[in-house]
Every structure is written in structure tokens, then in C-alpha cells.
């Protein structure tokens, strides 16, 4: 654990990252490299890559998780919390500010029209996200089976909590029933997709 960096500095670095972070969690990697690897020399690029892989597998936001891992490396638990607060603060503040005048502007028909077009764009963004996830999520018999099961469950309006938790449990049950079988992962595709 390095002592060179203060909590405030850590918060400020991640606040700046949060300010320029648009879109999904993938966007954070180049900024982390510039600030924490090159400038502050708190961790190596290998560590950042490990943190990134792990962050995707854990509950919560990829950007939030990877910030906590890096913050923890620098200053322990409170370092992790400073980094998380920093990276989330711009997102929080911008919504609080926008919301205060949102109800005024949505009264105008032109704004309503813009939001209707935006709905279509959001729809496209969701489908593009699925394309990206698909490559390393649905790639063999077992994962296709789970995909179809979850699809049916979701159409039948079964709670997403139940769907997600049972899917995770099915993964574990498979491992317990066939402990010798390797856990497949489409790692090549994953590497190519998230670089």
C-alpha cells in the first residue's frame, strides 16, 4: 500500500474520470491507465486488467467496481470509498441538475418529439449491447438453454431477481454435478470485444 496519495487527491482524480466518462464501463480503462498507472504509479496495467475482468463478474457497476479496486490498492477501504464517491459524483450531480428543469422543458411538443426519436435510439443501443454481450455469453448448449429459459421466464413476467439468481445457481449446480468438466468461456471473443 502506497502512502503517497491523499484521500482528497484520490477523490479528485476519480471525480475527473467520472466527469469525462460517457457510456458503459469499458470507457474507463484509458483514463485509469493515464492517471493511476502512468502518472501516480499506484498500480500496473496488468493489475488494472485483472481488476477489470473481476469487476465485470461482480455485482454493481463495472466503472464503480474497478474504481474501488484501484482505490483500495492505493489507500485501503477508505481509498476505495473515496474513489467510488469521486467516480459517481458527476453522474449524481448531473441528474439532480437536469431533473430540476426537466419537467419544464418536457411540456414543449418539440421536446416530446425529440424524446420519441430518442426512444428509438435507446432501443438500438440496447440491441447493440446485446450483440456485444452475446459473443461471450451465449456460445454453447448450456448457455443457449439458459438463454431460452430466461427468455420464456421474462415473457411470462417472472421477477428478474428470480431469473438471475436461478441462472447463477444452475451454473453452480452444473459445476457440482460435473466437477471434472471445465467451465467453458469464450475468452478469445471476450478479449477482442472489451479491448
Amino acid at each position: 500500500m502506497t502512502k503517497k496519495i491523499t484521500f482528497l487527491k484520490l477523490f479528485w482524480i476519480f471525480f475527473k474520470i467520472g466527469l469525462v466518462l460517457f457510456g458503459g464501463g469499458y470507457a474507463i480503462l484509458p483514463f485509469l491507465k493515464a492517471e493511476m498507472v502512468d502518472k501516480e504509479k499506484i498500480c500496473t496495467m496488468e493489475e488494472i486488467t485483472d481488476f477489470y475482468a473481476l469487476s465485470q463478474c461482480l455485482p454493481g457497476l463495472v466503472a464503480g467496481n474497478i474504481s474501488m479496486f484501484t482505490g483500495y490498492k492505493a489507500k485501503g477501504v477508505f481509498g476505495a470509498l473515496s474513489a467510488l464517491a469521486g467516480v459517481c459524483m458527476p453522474a449524481y450531480l448531473s441528474i439532480v441538475i437536469i431533473f430540476s428543469f426537466l419537467s419544464i422543458i418536457t411540456g414543449y411538443p418539440i421536446i416530446q418529439n425529440i424524446f420519441e426519436v430518442l426512444d428509438i435510439a435507446v432501443c438500438v443501443l440496447i440491441f447493440l449491447t446485446i450483440l456485444e454481450l452475446w459473443v461471450f455469453s451465449v456460445f454453447d448448449k448450456f448457455t443457449t438453454f439458459i438463454f431460452i429459459l430466461a427468455l420464456i421466464a421474462s415473457i411470462l413476467k417472472i421477477s428478474p431477481f428470480i431469473v438471475v439468481i436461478s441462472a447463477g445457481m444452475l451454473g453452480i449446480i452444473r459445476h457440482i454435478l460435473f466437477p471434472k468438466e471445465k467451465i467453458p468461456s469464450n475468452s478469445n471473443a471476450q478479449g477482442g470485444n472489451n479491448a
Partner: protein, 188 residues
């Protein structure tokens, strides 16, 4: 006030099971709409669009948005914090054991089963949005005119945006900006 704590608890649960980034939260927003009717389906897409336009992680944008919608400023703060608590606990405790735990069979097994389910859930959320923007069953039932059922303009925009989106790959900002410009000129 009661609503705020119910929402914070729901968001704590979402923070525990939503694995892999902001978009995995979207199916749970539909779940909240069905269960509590605090906001409506149209507002979900509004939230996603605004979250893409504002800085920071999308999941935080959406948590703050839902929170402020249901419970004002206190709601926003509580919801966002409740959403983050599970990952705080997990990441901080895992950091200690990280060195011997890089390749955990159980984490891998969970992810192996969980990822395809998450993809299915997000897919259904996308279909729901497509359904509300491109098709109108209500109008069709009254008029029995096919063009009241299918919004041709929306379908064309969907195709055009898909092509632009595939070309741009990882820049949702630009697609959202283009959609705003289109919305200024084209009447849907």
C-alpha cells in the same frame, strides 16, 4: 417517506444481483414499474436516453433519476447509496483475498449460467421499447388500419440508427446526439 425506503431496499437488491454494468439494471426498472407504478414505461426510456447524455456510469445516472422521481433529493441520495452498498462490501472484502482468488471456479460457474440469462432479460427490455415506439395496437383495434398499427417512420429510423450504431460501435453519445437532431426536424 415510506416509498423512499421501499425504493432504497429494492435498489439494494438490484445492486446485489445486477452484474456487469448499467444496462443489466434496465430489466429491473420494468419490474419496479409493474410492482409499484411510481413511474411509467415511457419514463424508463427517457431515463436511459438522459443517462447516456450525462457524464458518469449509466447505472448511477439511472439510480439517481429513479430516486429523485420517487422521493426528491433525499430519495436520490438514498437510492444511489443503497445501490452501491452491496458492491462496496463485496469489492472491499474481496480485495483482501484477491491474490489467492483470481481464478475462482464458483465465480466462473455463476457467471457461466448468469450471463445468458442477463442477455435474455436485456433483450426483452429492448423488445418492450421497440413495441411501444414502433407498434400501436390500441390505434389498430379502433381503426383496423395496418398503418395505424405499424409506425413506418419509426421502423425506418430504427433501421437507420442500427446502421449508424453498428458503424460507430462504442460511442452511444454520438447516436443520441444524432437522434436529438433528427427529433428537431422529423415529426414522429
Amino acid at each position: 417517506m415510506h416509498n423512499i425506503f421501499v425504493l432504497a431496499f429494492e435498489y439494494f437488491k438490484i445492486g446485489t444481483v445486477a452484474i456487469g454494468g448499467g444496462y443489466t439494471v434496465i430489466p429491473f426498472l420494468y419490474y419496479l414499474v409493474e410492482k409499484y407504478k411510481w413511474f411509467n414505461v415511457a419514463e424508463i426510456t427517457q431515463m436511459i436516453a438522459i443517462s447516456n447524455l450525462t457524464p458518469g456510469p449509466i447505472g448511477i445516472n439511472m439510480a439517481t433519476f429513479v430516486g429523485i422521481k420517487v422521493g426528491g433529493n433525499i430519495g436520490a441520495a438514498l437510492t444511489t447509496i443503497a445501490f452501491l452498498i452491496p458492491s462496496m462490501i463485496i469489492v472491499c472484502s474481496l480485495s483482501k483475498f484477491l491474490k489467492n482468488n483470481k481464478e475462482n471456479k464458483y465465480i466462473n460457474s455463476i457467471m457461466y449460467g448468469l450471463r445468458p440469462a442477463a442477455v435474455a432479460l436485456i433483450g426483452v427490455a429492448g423488445l418492450k421499447i421497440m413495441n411501444t415506439t414502433c407498434f400501436n395496437l390500441q390505434a389498430f383495434k379502433i381503426s383496423h388500419n395496418l398503418w395505424d398499427f405499424i409506425s413506418l417512420k419509426s421502423l425506418i429510423l430504427l433501421a437507420v440508427f442500427s446502421i449508424i450504431g453498428l458503424k460507430l460501435k462504442k460511442n452511444p453519445m454520438i447516436l443520441i446526439a444524432i437522434a436529438i437532431l433528427v427529433g428537431l426536424v422529423v415529426k414522429i
